[in-house]
Subunit: 474 residues, 2 copies
């Protein structure tokens, strides 16, 4: 790995982005070398380009010099995706923060990659529109700027955003070529559809420089309800029953007792600690009576499945308090033990009961604290393994438990990651999930688009002789 930025290269990069936007101080290399995991690596330099053309020029230099290039947005990813594992250049998109257009007729917003989801949400809501990705994560990002790195450095392509929300992308390929895929039109079957490929590539195929996002009309009414269960498995069964009844709340969030106790210890919110699990429902729509009727039906099914208490938030304040408790989970878990390994397995929602049961057994077997929470309505769970990295014996058990949780997800027809991406943290489990043929296919695509391997090296693909999430020095 190259350790120092060559002076000629330094002046070339400074000429492209301006001296103020090329960072090489130790403090900057530290500040742009970490993400939301416990991993970090110092890059050679950080560039903060101000335009697509500047990004193309940086790509051409990285190609010429065979230098690693890691796109970066906020550094809040939870899988190590933005950590510049091979050093090289970190390409930060923070200066590309303009909402270029909000187009109501076509139902899209055109944004630069540095736009923060919460800012976009605010801007589109002022026009009666709505950017649909998961409301609980959205609210998180509104507070913590908590956006993922898994889309080539695009802030608004955050946790779990898939091509369903992406009408078009502008992407700079590794060698500097500029590609557009998709558009404002609703239907498009011209050539290969590459929106999903680049949206989910975690910066390994190029840098995203412009995004056209699909918007919906903002519903006139949004309400929140809760259901408290004496058993986590009953709560999971209620989620299945609600889906089976054809009800589709915008969110069903799950918190188990351990999760609630961590939240209450940090900031008391009146969560029912006598319950083994709580479900939190969001329902919205344009007709209040229908929203109320759906909430009523959800509560009824929850009680049939064993909920000992169901409540509809009486007002905006109570609703806000519940969602604040939901988004306090991550910081609250971080206080309980020195470290946590956050997973985000995703399973078919029909498999929720077996999955939560299996995770609890894994926790018991390895004597570990594993609070369970997540977007249960989507089958997406965030079992967080609480740990202390100084305790080597415990960390060995953490490592085994993490693998077992992935095995449970895959055996249930699910997957390693529903939202956070693979990055560094889960790459060694890719073949377990995808099989050898699919993984080989992905490698062929990677090699075809990035033949020099300069884009975000060390991510997604398992590296037989390389560093995995547990071997990487702190």
């Amino acid at each position: 790995m190259q350790r120092m930025l060559h002076p000629t290269l330094e002046s070339e990069l400074a000429a492209i982005v301006g001296a103020a936007n090329l960072r090489t101080s130790d403090v900057d290399l530290l500040a742009y070398g970490y993400d939301g995991t416990w991993y970090e690596r110092a890059p050679l330099c950080v560039v903060l380009p101000g335009s697509t053309e500047e990004i193309r020029a940086i790509h051409r230099i990285a190609t010429r010099e065979r230098l690693a290039l890691t796109p970066r947005a906020m550094g809040s990813g939870l899988s190590g995706g933005a950590v510049p594992l091979a050093g090289g250049i970190v390409l930060g998109v923070s200066r590309l923060d303009r909402i270029l257009e909000i187009d109501e007729v076509n139902g899209v917003a055109v944004v630069q990659p540095g736009v923060i989801t919460a800012d976009l949400q605010k801007a589109v809501e002022a026009r009666g529109l709505f950017y649909p990705p998961d409301p609980s994560s959205l609210r998180q990002s509104a507070i913590g700027g908590n956006v993922a790195e898994n889309a080539g450095g695009a802030r608004c392509l955050k946790y779990g955003v898939t091509a369903d929300y992406v009408a078009a992308l502008e992407v700079v390929l590794p060698g500097g070529e500029l590609v557009r895929t998709g558009g404002k039109m609703v239907k498009n079957v011209t050539g290969y559809d590459l929106r999903a490929l680049f949206t989910g590539a975690e910066g390994t195929l190029g840098t995203i420089t412009e995004i056209t996002l699909r918007l919906l009309r903002k519903p006139a009414f949004a309400k929140t309800a809760t259901a408290a269960f004496a058993s986590l498995e009953d709560a999971a069964a209620a989620v299945i029953a609600i889906a089976d009844a054809g009800l589709l709340p915008t969110s069903i969030e799950l918190m188990d007792r351990l999760t609630m106790s961590c939240v209450e210890a940090m900031r008391p919110a009146g969560l029912p600690l006598e319950a083994d699990a709580l479900l939190l429902f969001a329902v919205d729509g344009n007709y209040e009576k229908i929203v109320d009727a759906e909430l009523g039906r959800i509560a009824e099914i929850a009680r049939e499945r064993g909920a000992f208490e169901t409540r509809v938030a009486a007002n905006e304040g109570e609703s806000l308090r519940l969602w604040e408790a939901r988004r306090a989970i991550s910081p609250a878990l971080a206080r309980r033990m020195p470290n946590k390994l956050g997973e985000d397995i995703s399973v078919p929602r029909s498999e929720l009961v077996g999955t939560v049961r299996a995770i609890r057994k894994i926790a018991a077997r390895h004597d570990l604290l594993i609070p369970i929470f997540g977007h249960a309505g989507d089958g997406n769970l965030h079992p967080n393994i609480l740990c202390d990295r100084r305790d080597a014996a415990q960390m060995a058990r953490v490592r085994t438990a993490a693998r077992e949780i992935f095995e449970v997800a895959v055996a249930a027809g699910g997957t390693l990651s529903g939202e956070h991406g693979i990055g560094l943290l889960k790459k060694q489990f890719m073949e377990l999930d995808l099989g050898a043929d699919a993984l080989a296919l992905m490698r062929r695509i990677k090699d075809a688009i990035d033949p020099l391997g300069i884009m975000n090296p060390g991510k997604i693909f398992p590296d037989p002789g390389g560093i995995d999430a547990f071997d990487l020095p702190a």
Copy 2:
């Protein structure tokens, strides 16, 4: 091009699929060599495999022999995608026609590629579910088995179906490798998302052998309304105004006067021939009062935009009659002139007025009949150029008009094809739409996945020295 099937190869293929499922007679080669366009080519042979394993074995032989392999479903595609341009093997999926599972909790159906959309729709509706792709096309396929070929031979991945509807795919790669992408879970960001790539690949990257489709709950009420306009441009403006008001009918179909007159000449349906254009609306929902209120608001906006008559279909019979008229368009146009060149440009819906105006100008300038109809609510139009292929002078004008229509679509931020795919018919316009860098990227992906170029050769990619839609002999 190889002209005869070698006897050794013939026995190998017969051993895989059974003698009855290997077809080599002239009649069969003719029957499996055409599609919904005016192009045809005889393959060397037709194989009708009965399982994924048989398909893998056929792929291995095609790879070993460097033989072209063209997946085929019903042969009703409208872009030449299923025509075996390079001869070789046609791989028909008609025997793989089982609905493997309808899963209500996870909201998906797992089907083999030979399942016909109408049969799937019937099966899921019996369970209170609904397969959402475009109702007008769905109803077409229910009658004519009118499904597209543009997804590696999968019947139910018909016109315009994108990865939005596809939860998972099982695909046999050119060399016989078996790949699964996606699953029953709602969220999945593990590795590259390849569902869209294969769904839109028109059989150029592999053969699709199993599809997991997303389903919705069937709405309790569905109603139809019409609005008649004295000006086509006013009708287009009304579509924009309805979208701008935040109303989202499940369909807004457009027919211009020439289209209606063709339909009425074939089968009188009482369409308002005094109108320059008719809009046909479908609105559905679970609450009749809301459906009615939305229809009322749509009619109001249509009248504000110049509709001289708006009607809500009084009953199921009247509604059915209107949708029958809609799906009679294609056969009705086919009667007006000996041939037709059907396009399916897709533009941002904000560009509809300018687009219909430009198409009418093109028709006038070249003295051609170009009825305009299509899924106006999606910005997807089907201008059909009526023609007589024996009239060389007219065909020269058709060729120019076709190019001009594509140029209009691309200039409006739209695309060559919203539903039918590129196939043979539009491949020479790919660079006009995508630009050189995006087209080169797609070629790199094609070469990485199909390095021998055996999968459906001659499709999608422009071939500088090759055959285009107008040069191909009849």
